[in-house]
């Protein structure tokens, strides 16, 4: 009888301890962030959670245009981090974000990637216009897709490429992906001969399978990333704290570590 009692006590105490350990978080922060921010923001999220016990950060990574569409249809979020100013401006226009609360927190640049082994035999940027090359780009509706078109436009204005360059490159496009990570995946798999992604996307596993061709600054597009709290955020104070963290030296260092150009 006594043994049974102490056993029961022991079980109860253990269960109580377990209940404390897995207590539901007191606050959940929902961050909608551009797909290219996946690695860096996950690390920032972990830092933020470590500094604030009881807070869980939940991320939704997708093409910025996809995120905006979801927000437009009523998805609840606290923070929106976009890969271009356009989607943020549209969000402000729809009153999802209060004008003036957005801040630029990072910049990015484009890079041409091709599969390890170079099946398309790419040696220089001009090869992108070679007939028969399979190019995978993001859809123009995605920020990186538009940046790519702008970059090609810049190159077409240079005599070394010629005015027909952009059209010839676009004739090689075999697919228009919804977000940059899909482009990375398809080039990584060797399905496409080349793709245009952010330099920050050449990271982790992808870095081992991708070779890169840098784009000179005079054609390269600087992607500007704004971040803002949502107008009707469930956790407005936490949203501001998170944005402060992203803009702080720790946050900026983390972004720089992942290849981003810092805000200033």
């Amino acid at each position: 009888m006594k043994r049974l009692l102490s056993l029961t006590e022991g079980v109860c105490i253990t269960l109580a301890l377990c209940a404390c350990a897995v207590a539901p978080p007191s606050h959940t922060l929902t961050v909608f962030a551009a797909a290219s921010l996946t690695e860096s923001f996950e690390e920032i999220g972990q830092q933020f959670e470590a500094a604030r016990p009881g807070v869980r950060v939940f991320f939704n990574f997708a093409g910025s245009q996809q995120l905006h569409a979801q927000l437009e249809q009523g998805a609840r979020a606290d923070v929106f981090a976009s890969a271009n100013v356009k989607e943020m401006d549209v969000a402000i226009g729809s009153s999802l974000v209060v004008s003036g609360t957005q801040r630029v927190f990072a910049r990015n640049r484009l890079v041409v990637v091709y599969p390890k082994g170079n099946p398309g035999q790419i040696a220089a940027l001009g090869d992108l216009a070679r007939p028969g090359l399979k190019l995978d780009l993001a859809d123009p509706s995605a920020p990186v897709g538009q940046y790519t078109l702008d970059m090609l436009g810049e190159m077409s204005q240079d005599d070394s490429f010629g005015s027909a360059f952009k059209d010839r490159v676009l004739a090689n496009v075999v697919s228009r992906e919804e977000n940059v990570k899909s482009v990375v995946a398809k080039v990584q798999l060797g399905e496409a001969d080349a793709g245009v992604v952010y330099s920050t996307d050449v990271t982790g596993q992808a870095a081992k399978e991708l070779w890169t061709l840098p784009v000179p600054d005079r054609y390269n597009q600087i992607a500007v990333y704004p971040i803002a709290p949502m107008a009707r955020a469930p956790e407005p104070a936490l949203a501001r704290r998170f944005i402060d963290w992203v803009l702080s030296p720790v946050g900026q260092q983390t972004l720089a570590k992942h290849g981003f150009i810092t805000a200033d």
Binding site: R176, E177, E178, G190, E191
Partner: protein, 253 residues
């Protein structure tokens, strides 16, 4: 009592469909039907689905006949293999097709040396649709074929008819409901295929951007275009289902 218990689910099924139709005005549909992108997506979808249904019909009928008539070892395994793609998440199906037929895939690698590349082509769209929709035809055709009495076949054989003649003059006319109904279901499923298509075939207007892909991308750019395509898809699938029901209902016992 039973009706009351069943009503919530029926309402749940009906509500989104009604909402979609109500949110799409005829003017919107008319406007977008004139757009090149929309017409390309519709044309591609209809063409690929029809090729898929035909291909599945040609290659799937022998399989359906086999399952309807013969007992053999490993029959269960064959049936599971045929059903498997329908249960797989379509994205998984797309990934698997890429691993098999992609440039560095199992078979794709070999094909590439001969200059044949499947991914990112309309052929890839058909393959993705066939992979996920074949089972719909085979299962329904099998039931139709199984319902034909063996004695009729045997009588024909006794009278000297060869297997092809038996199939053409006895089996086909009597099992047509199962065959046509199955083809229609296969067509409808192929029409709605998305996950495997976007991963294996990619997304390019006129070449691989079928209606479901256009709806997905359109949702982010132009909601009205997405709604137009969605409404058309709704009407087409509704029409197919009504037709299939009518065909299969009058089947003799």
């Amino acid at each position: 009592m039973l009706t009351a218990a069943g009503t919530p689910l029926l309402v749940f099924l009906l509500l989104p469909i009604l909402a979609l139709l109500l949110k799409t005005s005829p003017q919107t549909v008319a406007h977008y039907l004139a757009e090149r992108n929309t017409l390309q997506a519709i044309g591609l979808s209809l063409t690929t689905s029809t090729i898929t249904a035909t291909g599945v019909g040609v290659f799937g009928t022998p399989l359906a006949y086999l399952l309807a008539r013969r007992r053999f070892h490993g029959r269960t395994l064959i049936e599971v293999l045929i059903d498997w793609p329908t249960v797989l998440p379509p994205a998984v199906a797309g990934l698997a097709l890429l691993m098999a037929f992609g440039r560095r895939g199992l078979l794709g690698g070999l094909l590439q040396t001969t200059g044949v590349e499947i991914a990112f082509t309309s052929a890839a769209v058909v393959l993705a649709q066939m992979f996920v929709a074949a089972s719909y035809y085979i299962k329904t055709a099998e039931i139709g074929l199984a319902a034909v009495g063996c004695d009729l076949e045997q009588a024909a054989a006794l009278d000297g008819a060869g297997s092809l003649a038996i199939f053409r003059y006895i089996m086909l006319p009597l099992a047509w409901r199962g065959i046509v109904g199955g083809a229609a279901l296969c067509w409808a499923r192929a029409l709605g295929e998305f996950g495997a298509t976007i991963i294996f075939a990619g997304n390019y207007p006129g070449r691989t951007q079928t209606m479901p892909l256009a709806v997905y991308i359109g949702f982010e750019i132009d909601l009205n275009q997405a709604l137009t395509l969605a409404a058309i898809l709704l009407v087409l699938s509704f029409g197919i289902l009504i037709t299939v029901r009518a065909i299969l209902r009058d089947a003799p016992e």
